[in-house]
């Protein structure tokens, strides 16, 4: 099986087939990262697609010694955060807590609501850690923030979730 590096090098030489195979390989998880951050299917489509488009135009400067997926996820998550904020501005919403809701139901409705009250940055850390199985150092690299910031966001996100769920159950 060809490695990502093989496919990246082939895509650099102009192989659309290679780029297509990279897309097939990474689209589901990149889309999931975008959806987890935005909570919106349309925004996730846009963010994930933008990640691949940006990557395709910058393949020549990608370090093939490094894994490809974190690079794509990084672009997608940051793009998703931007899109969520842009949508809020366009909608002139005045939600101080930047709440959002997943546009499709999750089986755990309480958790869905609690996640919706997290900031996109904290939600992204939760998604990367629990839903995409990234370690905290990997999240730090993906989000380009210090490890301490990741640990802090994760702890605060979990604290927020815990408080919200406990309050509902009081």
């Amino acid at each position: 099986m060809e490695t990502d590096a093989d496919l990246v090098l082939a895509a650099r030489r102009g192989s659309r087939d290679a780029l297509g195979r990279l897309f097939d390989r990474h689209w589901p998880r990149v889309w999931r990262a975008a959806y987890s951050t935005s909570g919106d299917r349309e925004l996730a489509n846009d963010a994930a697609q933008d990640a691949f488009l940006q990557a395709a135009s910058a393949l020549h400067r990608f370090d093939v010694r490094r894994p490809l997926e974190p690079w794509l996820v990084r672009i997608a998550v940051n793009r998703a955060i931007d899109l969520v904020r842009a949508r809020r501005r366009l909608a002139a919403e005045e939600l101080a807590d930047e709440r959002f809701a997943f546009d499709e139901p999750l089986p755990d409705e309480e958790l869905r609501e609690a996640l919706g009250r997290l900031t996109p940055e904290r939600r992204a850390v939760i998604a990367l850690h629990y839903w995409l199985d990234y370690t905290t150092p990997e999240i730090a690299e993906v989000l380009d923030v210090p490890l301490g910031t990741v640990n802090s966001r994760l702890a605060r996100a979990l604290g927020d979730l815990r408080r919200q769920l406990e309050a509902r159950n009081v």
Binding site: R16, W27, N45, F52, A56, P107, D108, D144
Partner: protein, 331 residues
Amino acid sequence: MSDEMERRLRDAGRRLPTPDDTDTVAARTRVVSALPASPRHPSARRRRPLVVALVLAAAIACAFGVGYAVAAGGGHTTTKIVRERQALDAGPGFLPAAGWDTVSAGTATPAISAIAANVPLDPRDRDLLGPPAETAKKLGPNGVLFYAMFAATSPRERLPQKLLPLQLDDARLTNGFEGVVSVGSTRRLQVRVAAWDLDVLVFFGAAHPSSGVLAAAREELGRLAVPACPAALPLAAADAARAKSYLLRWLPAHYSGDASEVAGATATATLGTDAPRHGEAAHDCGAPVADRSVEVDVVLPKLAQVSASLSEQTYFLAKTATGWLVWERAR
């Protein structure tokens, strides 16, 4: 509660929706069709049917050399060009200089990049598969490391067009570069030079490099060469006649056909934007170079009886620090 929370989170993750098939197909089509063409390089440009971008300087490197060395120091913040002979057919990269370790990919590879450092390059970085991350780790307080990436000009990028030599003062401070850690500070210069989009990272070992280190970095940046297109100097009105005279002297020695066909050649010369084929020059080397070029249209009377098109040739010349340079022949 913590374990329970984590269990609920992981369970929710397993039940997240998946991308819609229709959306996936549409996105895949857009992504794949957006793959840019591989960067052009001189050999490819020569094959173009309408504008035969003949890189004459590369073929006659012993006659024409353009290079860049620098005298920077004291209060100077501008890179100066001084004479240094160097062939131009090696692809983009840093010209050799004492105290600098350089490597460039040339134009044979699709990923064109070059690195230069005033410390020994780590062997793992010499393959140019990515940023010189290993060398970056070894930069001392006076260390400077360049990583230059070259790509064919893209309409999606709106980069400022610059002439060589590039200026360090045009670079902006940035928060590092992915994959490169343990450097004091990083500057980034993203510009268009000729038909290339350049992305140049300058890694310093110190957060606040000394004036001597900055001067050394300016010098090295001045040695960054881009093939085929000249570091053109501004023109004066009298340069039309000078360029014409030069071209007619130069032509017999460099004409590719029978030397007798050049006999009796006549020429007209036009400066910069007034040149009839200025657009072709701008297409190939960018407007700043075209604006500083002289178009010399040559008529070879002996060939006129055979073919009008063969008898008419157009050359673009630029005035450089090393003298006149015939940088392109168009047909």
